[in-house]
């Protein structure tokens, strides 16, 4: 283990001692100074990443950042120029064969023998790792919803179906570590959603998932920890909840737009206030309660406070990668930097506990950067007015539950966390949101209002490994997954509305994924088909 990793880990533990139990878990995948040159090009440059057992680990980077090269290095397809990786306690290269026994997955697109059926492909590939029963093959095919095409030639499969088959192939031997290289590419929205739920379920089941992606919202939704790399180097590494700015964007609609704007400017500064499609966009960070209090004090009728659509991790990512791969300088701490919960904490928030005001942004410090943010834990971090002056401020992330990333143009010019204050137009019938006045908005200090809270949910829900995993299938509807999809906001959701989702029990079998989820009730050894027999594959067929 390199000193960098050690220091990073120590910092994390200092920042959040309560997490030390979690940090104590063994690393199932780690790279140590991993370097790969292709001729003169340095594709991977002294990479140190650490994936702990049980993580759903997001591996982010722009195209050409070296993501796939790293995966190939870690799985022994290519040989490092220097450094090494460690997979399940085995060194790669060196003990590759032993290491690969613990890994399932695919690199780039999953590939198969085109003239063979899906079933035969699985049989062939699976037999290379160890014995595979026909029942297990049927099981994984059911998990990914390809049972009805099990005996047709893979050559006739669409890209999305091959992706699904790739996931089935990865799960065949129930490996400890599942490495998926952009598993949702080429999938339709339904398929994406299913795959993400499957990944979350794997995480709940204790499987470590290494998810390479350039879809930030995907990582935000399913991952507990993530690393962003660019040019083969780690840009930033840490829990997903901390990899995005925590400033919260809330759309507030009042009865007087102009006055509301003035008030907001008075609170947050001129730069923090913008207008967006009839709404006022104000960057308020965690101080939505303060904003609302001021609005109410100014005799404005607050109609609605909802999270504004924003880029979250995407903005952060663009900012990081555009700036020559340096993580942002830690500016005087603003509200965005404190109360950044880890995935698990965020999950607790979601269950409407007040947020812990412990600061943990120290984890944001890049591994190579020697100086941890001393300011991170300071109490004055909560000073509300810091926002307006911060142009480093990353925009907040709100409801991104099932939504593809909105185009960057949708962000307001000011990139910080925003509160959208929508003032009712004369004669305009309010939008659906306008009526959704939330009484909790003016809640106690430091407790974000409900819409805000739910914005923390997407990355959070994969976190609690214990609670939901063994829950009865019927509890599903109450899980954060569902809850966060109820968050208002722009959605391009393909899934049925929350109400219908809640009523759908796994037994009705609409989604193979929920079939899978049903299984953890009897975690090891029990067969999926036993616990949820009548899965139909409807909706899965192309």
């Amino acid at each position: 283990m390199t000193p960098d990793v050690v220091t990073e880990k120590t910092r994390e533990q200092e920042a959040r001692p309560e997490r030390s139990e979690r940090e104590g878990r063994a690393a199932i995948l780690s790279t140590h100074g991993l370097t790969k040159d292709f001729g003169k090009l340095r594709a991977v440059d002294g990479l140190d990443i650490q994936v702990r057992a049980g993580d759903v680990f997001g591996f982010l980077g722009p195209n050409g950042a070296g993501k796939t090269t790293v995966i190939r290095l870690v799985l022994g397809l290519i040989h490092p120029t220097s450094g090494y990786a460690e997979v399940a306690g085995h060194r790669v290269p060196g003990e590759l064969k032993e290491a690969l026994r613990h890994v399932g997955g695919f690199v780039d697109d999953p590939t198969f023998y085109p003239l063979m059926s899906a079933r035969r492909n699985l049989r062939l590939l699976g037999s290379m790792t160890g014995p595979v029963s026909e029942e297990r093959i049927a099981e994984v095919l059911e998990i990914v919803g390809l049972m009805d095409r099990a005996d047709s030639r893979v050559g006739g499969f669409s890209h999305g179906m091959k992706q699904r088959l790739g996931i089935a192939q990865a799960l065949l031997h129930a490996p400890e570590l599942v490495v998926l290289d952009e598993p949702t590419s080429g999938l339709d929205p339904r398929g994406m959603k299913d795959v993400r739920e499957l990944i979350r379920d794997l995480g709940r089941g204790g499987v470590t998932v290494f998810l390479s992606s350039h879809l930030l919202h995907e990582v935000q939704q399913v991952c507990t920890r993530a690393v962003i790399i660019d040019h083969g180097r780690v840009v930033v590494q840490g829990p997903v909840a901390e990899l995005r700015p925590h400033g919260l964007a809330v759309k507030v609609m009042t009865d007087d737009q102009t006055k509301a704007a003035e008030t907001a400017r008075a609170v947050f500064g001129a730069r923090a206030v913008a207008e967006d499609d009839g709404y006022l966009v104000v960057q308020a960070g965690d101080d939505v309660p303060e904003l609302v209090r001021r609005l109410v004090a100014d005799d404005l009728a607050v109609r609605s406070v909802v999270p504004a659509a924003d880029q979250g991790l995407e903005d952060y990512f663009l900012e990081l990668t555009a700036r020559g791969m340096r993580p942002p300088e830690k500016e005087p701490p603003g509200p965005t930097e404190q109360a950044t919960p880890s995935g698990e904490d965020a999950a607790r928030h979601h269950e409407s506990e007040p947020p812990e005001e412990t600061a943990s942004s120290a984890e944001l410090v890049p591994p190579k950067d020697a100086a941890p943010t001393e300011a991170a834990a300071s109490p004055e971090a909560a000073v509300p007015l810091a926002h307006g002056s911060r142009d480093e401020e990353e925009s907040a992330s709100a409801d991104r539950a099932e939504t593809p990333a909105p185009a960057p143009e949708e962000t307001s010019p000011a990139s910080g966390p925003r509160v959208t204050i929508a003032v009712e137009r004369p004669g305009g019938a309010g939008r659906p949101e306008t009526r959704a006045v939330r009484p909790a908005v003016g809640g106690g200090d430091g407790s974000p209002p409900p819409p805000v809270e739910s914005s923390a949910a997407p990355p959070a829900d994969p976190a609690p490994p214990s609670a939901s995993a063994s829950a009865a299938p019927s509890v599903d509807g109450a899980e954060p997954v569902v809850a966060c999809s109820q968050t208002p906001g722009p959605t391009y959701r393909y899934a049925p509305p929350p109400s219908s989702r809640a009523t759908r029990s796994p037994a009705s079998g609409a989604m193979p994924v929920s079939v899978y989820r049903a299984a953890p009730g009897s975690p090891q050894g029990a067969s999926v088909s036993g616990s949820s027999a009548p899965q139909s594959i409807d909706g899965r067929r192309r």
């Binding site: 397809l77 690969l100 613990h102 999953p110 014995p131 595979v132």
Partner: protein, 304 residues
């Protein structure tokens, strides 16, 4: 992983699960007969490839077409013309497989071997399945060796088809007679068939060299067509070179110079010495080229 895993561990809550408990199915003892696993897999792969059947069909068609053409025209090539033994086909159907093998050894068999060999690694790289199979805990060495063996096996099936079809159509068109050897003696039909089988096995040994050569090029490139062309260019260039007297010194070292030694089976008694020499050369070339291919493949960066 818990849901329906093939392992039968006690249902522990996921968070407490120790990753090292060996619970996942992947650490279960390997299946019985695992050594045959790689061979069987490669064989299945070849069976699920059209080009395998194309090669087999082509090889089986050659003796039939030859017999048919000679039967219809009723005039064979004169003595010394065409491949060995071709001139005798009209008198004795047993010469059909012999002359078919002789004709095939010139171009078509080396071509078929080169196709098979060059596809072995580069073909999988083209499909992208190479990275899929290398993500499985199998050594690259066993992969190369089993691939080579299965390619030889495929060719063996092809040669068996040639012999079977040759004897069948020779008997149908011309009838089988006792074989007259090059030394002028006559051997029985059964003995003659034995000699033909030996000839086919000799051809197989010769073609193993071609497969190894193609396999080497197959590991050097990600395109099976490039590997095929490279193999054939080398094969032809060497043959042209040794045809010049300046390169006579090269001839003993080149495996293609020994392709014609099968005629020694048709002497009475059989001249084993040149045959043994030829087999030794074939063996050395096959082993050397395959080992080289393994060395290349062992350290190869799989970027396909």
């Amino acid at each position: 992983m818990s849901p329906g895993g093939v392992c039968a561990c006690p249902p522990t809550p996921p968070p407490e699960r120790d990753p090292g408990d060996g619970c996942h199915g992947s650490t279960q003892p390997a299946m019985r007969g695992a050594h045959w696993g790689p061979l069987r897999r490669e064989w299945v792969k070849l069976l699920f490839t059209w080009r395998t059947y194309l090669i087999w069909g082509g090889l089986a068609a050659i003796p039939f077409l030859m017999a048919l053409a000679l039967y219809i025209s009723d005039t064979g090539p004169g003595p010394g013309e065409g491949p060995h033994f071709m001139s005798r086909v009209l008198e004795n159907g047993l010469y059909v497989p012999v002359s078919a093998l002789a004709a095939l050894l010139l171009v078509l068999l080396p071509l078929a071997s080169a196709v098979l060999g060059s596809y072995l690694v580069a073909g999988e790289a083209e499909l992208g399945t190479l990275r899929a199979i290398l993500l499985r805990p199998q050594s690259r060495g066993s992969l190369i060796v089993s691939k080579w063996l299965v390619a030889v096996l495929t060719l063996f099936v092809g040669l068996a088809l040639v012999v079977a079809a040759g004897i069948l159509f020779g008997a149908l068109f011309f009838g089988l007679e006792p074989l007259v050897t090059l030394s002028g003696t006559t051997v029985s039909i059964a003995e003659g068939i034995g000699l033909i089988v030996l000839t086919a096995l000799f051809a197989l040994a010769a073609m193993a060299c071609m497969i190894s050569l193609a396999l080497l090029f197959s590991t050097l490139t990600n395109s099976s067509l490039t590997a095929l062309i490279a193999t054939f260019v080398v094969f032809i260039v060497v043959q042209i070179l040794v045809s010049f007297s300046y390169f006579d010194w090269l001839e003993p070292y080149v495996f293609s110079s020994y392709f014609g030694e099968y005629v020694n089976f048709f002497r009475d008694p059989i001249a084993w010495r040149p045959i043994g020499e030829a087999l030794l050369v074939f063996g050395l070339w096959s082993a050397g080229l395959t080992a080289l291919a393994w060395l290349v493949f062992r350290r190869k960066d799989i970027l396909s």
